[in-house]
């Protein structure tokens, strides 16, 4: 049985549906990510799970029990807030102990658990510091320790890496994964950063405008996006929209701006005359001085961005078609160069929406 089971939850604010008929299940002990742009409803959904918002319809079950109508203090769920929300008038130890005191846990056990938590987040020795004496990263650890102290069935993390700089983000990401594995608690992370979601979670749910648009493992979300939105939101992508050419042994699309028809994956079977969108990831594109056999597009390099580990290359065809390629390693081209672009047909994904 899934630990968290959301069944057709909806929430409206006035005429706007913040959450529109969302259903999902989160497995016990997993790290699950809820991904989407601002305003997609992920925060509202998170708050419904925590108990700060009540769904207009639908049910939320945790470990089999229906918690839909329960107030936040009655749920086996704890949250790590985006702003950390550490109590400023209490020191670190009392912050962490707060939830335990509410359970009327006896003092000695509380002290022991607090020490345990401090060790878990590597903040041993900081017990009597006050929040205003800590750096942002330290505050976050305390917030995490506080939320884990009660060993909840489900831990919610609201944009945990948003406030951190790039290097710290990568380190913290690894630490969070490590902690989750150590304590075995189910984590649900809400984020707008697709890199975060893909790298941390074992399953990702993508939301847009209140709806759940795709749910699956990170690899599946990235390599088999189900819709234009997902293909574009998660990572960079080349999108080709056009009509299939007359049936032949090699299915292809006629796309405006490209002389050559764009190949579709083998076996693609589409009704005649429908518009189709094909997605190809930039790293699948191969650039060369001479055209490859089979399929190649002539284009010129319009701009280059060197990113250290690789480069993003933007290309323009003579007919105005645009392409994005990602090349690992050093740059071999310059602006204005004429190149041939190709990829294997199987690297493309036909999008259904």
């Amino acid at each position: 049985m899934a630990l968290l089971d959301i069944n057709s939850a909806s929430k409206h604010f006035g005429a706007i549906a913040a959450v529109d008929n969302v259903s999902l299940a989160v497995e016990r002990g997993s790290l699950f990510a809820l991904l989407g742009p601002s305003g997609c409803g992920k925060t509202t959904l998170l708050r419904m799970i925590a108990g700060f918002e009540t769904p207009d319809s639908g049910r939320i079950r945790i470990d089999g029990s229906d918690v839909t109508g329960l107030p936040p203090y009655a749920r086996p769920v704890n949250m790590m807030f985006q702003s950390y929300a550490l109590f400023p008038h209490m020191d670190v130890a009392r912050n962490i102990a707060f939830g335990l005191r509410q359970e009327r846990m006896d003092r000695r056990r509380v002290a022991g658990r607090v020490e345990e938590m401090l060790e878990l987040v590597q903040m041993t020795g900081y017990a009597s510091r006050r929040p205003h004496e800590l750096s942002g990263g330290q505050r976050q650890r305390v917030a995490l320790a506080r939320a884990l102290a009660k060993m909840p069935q489900l831990l919610l993390l609201d944009e945990p890496l948003a406030a951190l700089d790039r290097k710290l983000r990568a380190e913290t990401r690894l630490e969070l994964i490590g902690i989750q594995e150590r304590v075995g608690i189910t984590f649900l992370v809400v984020t707008h950063d697709q890199e975060e979601a893909l790298s941390m979670a074992s399953r990702v749910a993508v939301m847009n405008r209140g709806r759940l648009v795709q749910i699956g493992a990170p690899k599946d979300i990235y390599e088999q996006p189900s819709s234009r939105f997902v293909a574009d939101f998660v990572g960079e992508v080349n999108l080709f929209q056009g009509k299939p050419t007359s049936p032949s042994d090699r299915p292809a699309l006629t796309v405006a701006g490209f002389e050559t028809p764009i190949p579709l994956p083998c076996g693609t079977d589409l009704p005649h005359g429908t518009e189709v969108v094909l997605a190809v990831r930039p790293e699948k594109l191969v650039l060369s001085q001479t055209p490859r056999d089979g399929f190649a597009i002539a284009a010129t390099v319009s701009s280059l961005s060197y990113l250290g580990g690789g480069s993003t290359v933007h290309l323009l065809t003579r007919q105005g078609g645009q392409l994005k390629a990602y090349l690992p390693g050093g740059i071999r081209f310059a602006r204005g160069d004429a190149v041939w672009v190709s990829w294997s047909a199987g690297d493309g994904v036909v999008l259904t929406e």
Partner: protein, 267 residues
């Protein structure tokens, strides 16, 4: 505005504000009764003041009234501040807001007159309350509450509500959240609110004059009767003592409510 101009403005302004007070303090230690003749340092007027039965009784009355009024004002004002801050819409909100703000702005003679007429009407209907300490306290509690509500509201506006949500999330019931998280969070407003209501009560002349009874004289009333007859050195001494008291109270309020400077984050 250039730095020189700024400093000049400040100096002039503060000189203007503090010169009279400074002079009062100075002359309370003047051995001579006359303001214009300095006859040497002396604490004789403080001695005279201590012997002055009228002032002493009045001071006690004022302190009694101020303490009760400030405490009542604190409770009422905090409730009102919460209501206005946390409930953006309820029936009668505009009227409530009007009743909370107007006493702060309206001339004191209006407050005094209206309250006295209320008490007289009550007296003629049910024979209660007797005019004196109870009525003065009620009057002071009323405008004190308005001041407190302004302070509480301002503090609540800046209060991070995610702290309350975090507490609820961690298992605290709403009452616990209020007592352990919210009230400590607005404690500057609570403390300075009490002190402000206390000082205002201690200082009030007009309203007290209207609503008092035959046997209750507050300190401002006693001082007023005295100064209508002219400048008096005992009053200078009283004024200085009063200033010292207020200085201590305000310094306390400031010290307790000014956010402490952050120490550099440890690493």
């Amino acid at each position: 505005m250039g730095k020189g101009l700024r400093i000049t403005a400040l100096l002039l302004g503060f000189a203007f504000l503090y010169a009279p007070i400074g002079l009062l303090v100075l002359y309370s230690f003047n051995a001579s009764r006359l303001i214009t003749v300095w006859a040497g340092f002396s604490t004789r007027w403080y001695g005279e003041l201590a012997k002055h039965e009228g002032f002493r009784a009045a001071a006690l009355t004022s302190l009694e009234v101020a303490t009760m009024a400030a405490t009542t004002a604190l409770v009422l004002g905090t409730l009102a501040g919460f209501s206005m801050s946390r409930f953006p819409r309820f029936r009668g909100r505009n009227l409530f807001g009007f009743a909370l703000l107007t006493p702060l702005v309206v001339p004191e003679v209006i407050l005094g007159l209206s309250l006295l007429l209320l008490f007289v009407t009550c007296e003629s209907w049910i024979g209660w309350p007797p005019r004196g300490v109870p009525t003065i306290t009620a009057a002071h509690a009323t405008f004190g509450a308005c001041f407190v509500s302004v302070l509480v509201r301002a503090q609540l506006a800046g209060f991070d509500r995610s702290l309350e949500e975090a507490a609820l999330d961690l298992g605290a019931r709403p009452w616990t959240v209020l007592v352990r998280i919210t009230l400590p969070g607005i404690s500057p407003a609570v403390i300075s609110g009490w002190l402000l209501a206390f000082t205002l009560s201690l200082d009030d002349l007009v309203v007290a004059s209207f609503v008092t009874g035959p046997s209750s004289t507050t300190l401002p009333m006693a001082v007023f009767s005295s100064v209508r007859l002219g400048v008096s050195p005992e009053v200078n001494a009283l004024a200085t003592l009063f200033l010292a008291l207020v200085f201590v109270l305000v310094a306390l309020a400031f010290g307790l409510t000014t956010p402490r400077r952050r120490r550099s984050p440890g690493h």
